[in-house]
Amino acid sequence: MERRDAVPPEIQDTLEKYAEGTRLMSEEPRAPTGQTPKELVWAKNKARLYRYEPHAEKKHPVPILMVYALINRPYVLDLMPGNSLVEYLTGQGFDVYLLDWGVPGDEDEDLSFDDYVLDYLRPATRKVLRASEAEGYTLFGYCMGGTMAAMHAALFPGEPLANLILLTTPIDFAPEKTGLLGLWTDEKHLDPDLLVESFGNVPNEIIEHSMQMLKPVTNYVGTYAVMWECLLEEKPMETWKAMNKWISDGTPFPGAAFKQWIRDFYQQNKLVKGEIQLREHRVDLSEITCPLLNVAGERDHICPLPQAEPTMDLVSSEDKEFLVLDAGHVGLLTGRSAKKDLWPKVGSWLETRSGGES
């Protein structure tokens, strides 16, 4: 075989980038995520309660318990070193806990919000207080986790709940406020009972693609345009890889909880009407009296502003603030602007309400 002449370096470089991009597109994204040291405090079924940096100095006696949605992995709150709200808050001396719901199995298809709020979140708050030897705690809910946090705060107001932070939390599910998700989940087009009868737990692929279809151009095309741009211009790829890993790392939606979410929340908007019943408890958001920080993203298409804002009129808290940031649903938490907007704001808001050093 004749020896081929060497390919010019610039073309070789381009071909290598093409190869790398093709590999990234065809393989499952891999990236180190959730790297802040943590220890397991409590476990129940698939749920895990973690405490971050347990041996680090805690300047504020009021611990923070973070709660995320059922359908995504919560390590988005601790995405990667240098891009982690958890890392930031622990660095500021806060005692941070995270309740990871885990990945439900077929045996969990009967788990509803009643179970998650009363049998998982409630005991988790007690574990946090016990582990930190604290008298009060801050409940931090993100997205559907915020909805659960709000329900918990309404059912168990007063001490020891010290503060409530809601991040892009849907509360009002009136059709005119929910955007595309509201249209798709309308009872004319979606029967949640049929899905649950067929699948048990609704598969994460259905949830993932439904979320992606809210912005199909951005999610299916733009993601890779950004990837190619970073590759060709030799920009760092770590954040892109970590985000793509998280986006494709969803969890199934437990059947009973899915039925509640679609029927009681999206289709019948029971929460704002005070009609949500968790076992014998009726959820009345006006029972919330603790300090509240409610954060929403102006470009959030999953929880549009009109879904998050009504919380301010429903609660009875005197100390409450509605913060709107120019960001999307996830960009608000992990984007470039998060480091200069959301994180310092959350930190300073909590500093004056968590005791200890300022």
Binding site: R4, D5, V7, P8, I11, T14, Y18, G21, K44, N45, G105, D106, E107, D108, E109, D119, P123, R126, R130, L180, L183, W184, D186, K188, H189, L190, D191, L194, L195, E197, S198, F199, G200, M213, K215, P216, V217, T218, V221, G222, A225, W228, E229, L232
Partner: protein, 289 residues
């Protein structure tokens, strides 16, 4: 190497070297094509004006494809065609106007996306809100769910017929494990509460027990005091001068016997009732007290 040469050289080449049929012909052709691309990359250089001409022809061809598709009366393509043409015209004008031209397809794709993403996103959003799209999505989900349900039912029945564990069997067992785990969890929490001393029901029960023990202790003390007194009276009787038997009988008739005296003490202590019968306190009543 051509197919004919390949066939002719199955057994042995002219030099005596053993050769074998190439089982990966397609693979070999792909590798060959890749090598050709590499060679052409060295040779197929164009200057900037030629590059501009190539892109112009590409845009024209693309716009032609769209207009051809729209002639096929495809509703979706028809709705997209004007948008595509508008974007193609805009971007071609910008890209061919003297600004930097993309040197390769991927850069062109990135540039094209950045220029057009807003319009594509708006169009997609508008499309996804249309009634016909919503209805078809609903029908898709319904069909998908029903077919999935049928598949699951068939696989469960098949496995049952083979006496093999099904997914629902495994889930059933797992549920039992979860129930046991919940019970263990409840016991652990109750024990923790007891250790920490902040369990309401457990504390109340302990307090109630403590009170009953205090009352019992008081009664025991009174009983002991009565017994001691009884013992003292007995000693005193022995030290007194003997009396006539009749006098002694009269005294005996009139005096409270030591046993009766003890009974009185016990009655006062609440240990026995008036008829000398023991009193069994009703625990329920006690708790209510």
């Amino acid at each position: 190497m051509t197919d004919e040469e390949n066939t002719n050289t199955v057994a042995e080449s002219a030099t005596g070297e053993k050769r074998y049929p190439d089982p990966y012909d397609l693979y070999r052709r792909w590798l060959g094509a890749s090598e050709n691309v590499r060679d052409e990359a060295n040779e197929g250089e164009v200057n900037s004006s030629e590059l501009g001409e190539l892109w112009r022809r590409w845009f024209e061809a693309t716009a032609g494809l769209q207009s051809g598709a729209s002639e096929a009366e495809n509703e979706f393509v028809n709705s997209m065609a004007p948008l595509w043409k508008e974007m193609a015209d805009d971007i071609s004008a910008k890209m061919l106007s003297g600004e930097s031209l993309p040197e390769e397809p991927v850069r062109f794709f990135v540039q094209w996306y950045n220029e057009t993403k807003e319009r594509w996103s708006e169009t997609a959003d508008e499309l996804l809100r249309r009634d016909e799209v919503l209805k078809s999505m609903g029908r898709f989900f319904e069909t998908y769910a029903r077919s999935e349900a049928e598949l699951r039912r068939a696989s469960e029945e098949g496995l049952k017929n083979r006496r093999a564990p099904t997914r629902s069997d495994v889930a059933r067992v797992a549920k039992l494990v979860v129930v046991v785990e919940n019970k263990v969890d409840w016991i652990e929490e109750t024990l923790e509460d007891l250790v920490q001393g902040d369990s309401g029901p457990a504390t109340a029960a302990v307090n109630s027990l403590e009170e009953r023990m205090d009352r019992l202790e008081g009664k025991m003390d009174r009983i002991l005091a009565a017994l001691e007194k009884l013992g003292g009276d007995k000693d005193q009787d022995l030290s007194e001068t003997p009396q006539s038997s009749s006098a002694r009988k009269e005294d005996a008739d009139e005096a409270v016997t030591p046993l009766e005296g003890l009974s009185l003490e016990l009655i006062e202590a609440g240990y026995v009732g008036a008829g000398g019968r023991g009193v069994v306190e009703d625990p329920k009543t006690k708790d209510e007290d």
